[in-house]
Amino acid sequence: MSRIIAGDEMRHHQAYSKFVKEIFTIDPSEMMIAFQHMMQYKIIMPAMHLRESFGAKGDVFGDFSAVAQRVGVYTGFDYVDILRKLNTMWEIDKITNLTAEAEKARDYLMNLPDRMYRITERIVIPNTKFDFKWLLPA
């Protein structure tokens, strides 16, 4: 089931990356700066505000994220991996006619995967047993 969903997501990913690729040909500097802004801000999970009943906004997101990482579904290394792939896919090293600001943005993006890899190596994922209400017997 996860595989069929991933198949859909891959098609959608290809479509949106094609949009970006086309924008890179029309408006390269602004596209580069936008890309850099997003990576500097960090890509957050859409479930950032995940909470349980009677809980506060976002209160279980951290625990959920820890579980997803220790299961290996989505880790910091995946994040670095995606970054590398995007840089390659959009061939940002080959884009010409950039403004000075966009050149700086590109430098940042080219160095980011290695920098993030080093940070990710140092992250320790907790082995805590969490008690999610989702698994409580009704």
Binding site: I5, H12, R51, F132, L135, L136
Partner: protein, 164 residues
Amino acid sequence: MSLKNIRKEVMLSLEKNINLFVDKFLIPAEKIWQPTDFLPNSQKDTFIAEVEEIRELSKELDDDFWVVLVGDTITEEALPTYESWLLDIDGIHQNPDNGWAKWVRTWTAEENRHGDVLNKYLYLSGRVNMREVEISTQHLITDGFDLGTSSDPYKSFVYTVFKN
């Protein structure tokens, strides 16, 4: 021209080919898989036996697995948040309707199958407190999100590429 107006021009220029994108990257309802293709068919007499099988297999999977599946399901079920965010991007509008809005609706319609199939599977598994899952889902849609893209199409597309 302001940066915002240039973006609008770029969006207009991409929109000219949007139907090609829809045809190439999205799949019509009759051709694509539907949740029921992967679930026990409740019109058949084998339904109960198939549900039993899911429940037995589900017992063997550990809690971490279910937590991740629940979180993913809730994330998928918060689709209204993503659709309203996309429809708010500069250059995408429904009034008057443009090609981008058609793209977003067609994409949303495909995505909607994900939460649907996962939700039904969780329900049948017997391993999950569905009422708690439903409460979290309702909260997540209420709470929305802030991705830091504002309504900028360039930033928003980077986000969608990364996330998919």
